[in-house]
């Protein structure tokens, strides 16, 4: 059964939970920056998609849910995993392709899984995980276990057929799922205005009679509050909800992206809205933290990330004899 954790409205969050929101965003930022360094050192291979700039979306939304609500996301998935409480060392080990990684070195950056944390995975076919979210929600509905599903995807996903199929099915079966669109305005390197007839993505949910709202994805408290409201409605059995989080990724689509398609000034303007800086300022003005407390948090996340790297470095690579393990579940 679902855990009955008290989730107060955003305005009533106690100080320690406010600080925890800030700490988680800082952890993600530091983790991603370190991952980029490790990629440059060729400790990490393949595709590496970083979440810098979008931290408030994952942290705000996931903090508003119960720990056993299932979470699915796209391939830019480190932030969601960290926000859910997946062990940073095991995430970094996965990026390093180590046996101790959350996916045993099978998945890499794009395919983090930790089912014990109800983190049901990062998926790398754009929009391919929305149908799975419907199915998990169907199971919850049928098993009456009180759990709901949150499914993160980008603005690039909304022109896929599976997007429309999933929203329709979720609405017609009243499935307990929150569709969380992270609109960062670029599907890989293509500006949303060049490929989408309707750029206010939340409006598309109206075609499926689904409540939807645009929210400030740079504001962790707004993300928390609006997700909490959506979750209450979804958990009450009233059907799916849709949120569009307006956000911006500071870095390229992946490490291979030179960002020739957009000017640097745009990124700099968004940095003025930085979710960590602005939230820190709010907490400081409200007297929740001071400079000393912030420095302590910084030191803390620095230690966690350094420890994650050490763990990843020292972990063994997967055994070659294990190449064929897990293709099928063997009969027990």
């Amino acid at each position: 059964m679902t855990q009955l954790i008290d989730k107060p409205p955003a305005k009533e969050l106690p100080n320690e939970q406010l600080i925890e929101l800030l700490r988680k965003m800082m952890l993600i930022r530091r983790f991603e920056t370190k991952a980029a360094e490790m990629y440059a050192k060729q400790k990490i291979a393949g595709f590496l998609h970083l979440y810098n700039g979008e931290e408030a979306v994952a942290v705000g939304a996931i903090s508003a849910l119960n720990d056993d609500d299932q979470l699915l996301t796209h391939y830019r998935d480190h932030g969601h995993a960290l926000a859910r409480g997946v062990e940073p060392g095991r995430i970094m080990a996965e990026l390093f392709g180590k046996e101790t990684g959350v996916s045993g070195g099978r998945g890499g950056s794009m395919h983090l899984f930790d089912t014990e944390k109800s983190f049901m995975g990062g998926y790398a076919i754009v929009c391919g995980h929305l149908p799975l979210a419907c199915g998990l929600a169907l199971a919850n509905q049928r098993l009456k276990n009180g759990r709901i599903v949150i499914c993160f995807f980008g603005d690039g996903a909304v022109n896929e057929g599976e997007f429309h199929e999933s929203l329709n099915l979720a609405a017609v079966w009243k499935l307990p799922v929150i569709f969380m669109c992270e609109n960062n305005f670029y599907g890989m390197g293509t500006d949303i205005r060049r490929v989408s007839a309707v750029i206010e993505i939340y409006k598309r949910a109206a075609a499926y009679a689904m409540p939807s709202k645009q929210v400030d994805g740079m504001n962790v408290l707004e993300m928390y509050g609006e997700t909490l409201k959506a979750a209450e409605r979804v958990r009450a059995g009233e059907g799916p909800s849709f949120l569009e989080a307006i956000c911006f990724r500071y870095r390229g689509h992946s490490m291979a992206d030179p960002e020739a398609y957009r000017d640097r000034g745009q990124t700099e303007r968004w940095r003025e809205l930085d979710p960590i800086i602005t939230f820190r300022k709010t907490l400081t003005e409200d007297g929740v933290i001071d400079e000393g407390a912030f420095q302590t948090l910084e030191a803390e996340v620095e230690d966690i990330v350094n420890e994650a790297v050490r763990f990843a470095e020292e972990s063994p690579v997967p055994q070659l004899e294990e190449l064929y393990t897990h293709v099928y579940k063997e009969d027990s």
Binding site: G104, R106, P131, L132, L136, R142, L169, T325
Partner: protein, 323 residues
Amino acid sequence: MAEMSFRGALRLTLQEELQADENVILMGEDIGAYGGSYSVTKGLFDEFGPERVMDTPISESVVVGAGIGAAMGGLRPIVELMTINFSLLALDQIVNNAAKLSYMSAGQIHVPMVIRMASGAGSQLSSQHSQSLEGWYAHIPGIKVVVPYTPRDARGLLKTAFNEQNPVIFIEHTALYARKGEVPDEDYAIPFGQAEVMREGADVTLIGYSGSVYQTLGAADILEEAGREADVINLRTLRPLDVDTIVASVRKTHRAVVIEDDWKFGGFAGEIAAIIMEEAFDDLDGPVARVCGADVPMPYAKALEQSALPNPQQIADAALALF
């Protein structure tokens, strides 16, 4: 033993599983109130209701994907895709998700689901409704591919599919639905990877699966009249494949013909031929022959359609050419 149609054997098995386990659900287009495009699920909607026998939108991708998600979430979904032709709309879910989740998650996630679909030609449905793409699915590690021929196969293999922890593609040739056969009264299951030798003979091995076994048995009759005795192998599953039965037969007969409705170029018959070459090259008295569907989109006109499908005489001729 009771005589039962292929369709009836499937329906009985689905009914029993729905009765046995509350977490079994059927999902598909027109499987409920309509009774199923091929009447396999007829009556189940009335017996189990719309929450167990779920009519879906015509949205193959989300139907399969929701089946995968439901399996991840603890249900036992059986998805019906009406036909293999429509399954192409769900290929992303089958290939990129169902087949890979166990591996990518290092065994944290399993997808115990069955995806049923009709296949094959012969009813003058033209190019978009007459394909036999079983071999495509057999190409993918992470899924299992089941191709029953007899009503006994249908029931026994579906039982096994229900007990699987892995995604199963269960393919039903449309020409078989009304065909009748003996089905054991007792509870039984046919393990995957066990071909059936339908008929024994020392001179040549004929290997078929699904609907093509019918033509293959016809060819064996023709061969008998010509004084040649054939081993006829019904593969029953393509993945896993019963290599042992194939190889043992070829070691005995020294000649092999592989039969399938699908196109020859790049098809599953070529895979079987290659396996025979790898495993029993020195036992062969000649090249492995293939009798497959013509290399064309399926035509509508009856005579054209029939000429595009393997027939008993073609198969027998291919076998006799090996002597």
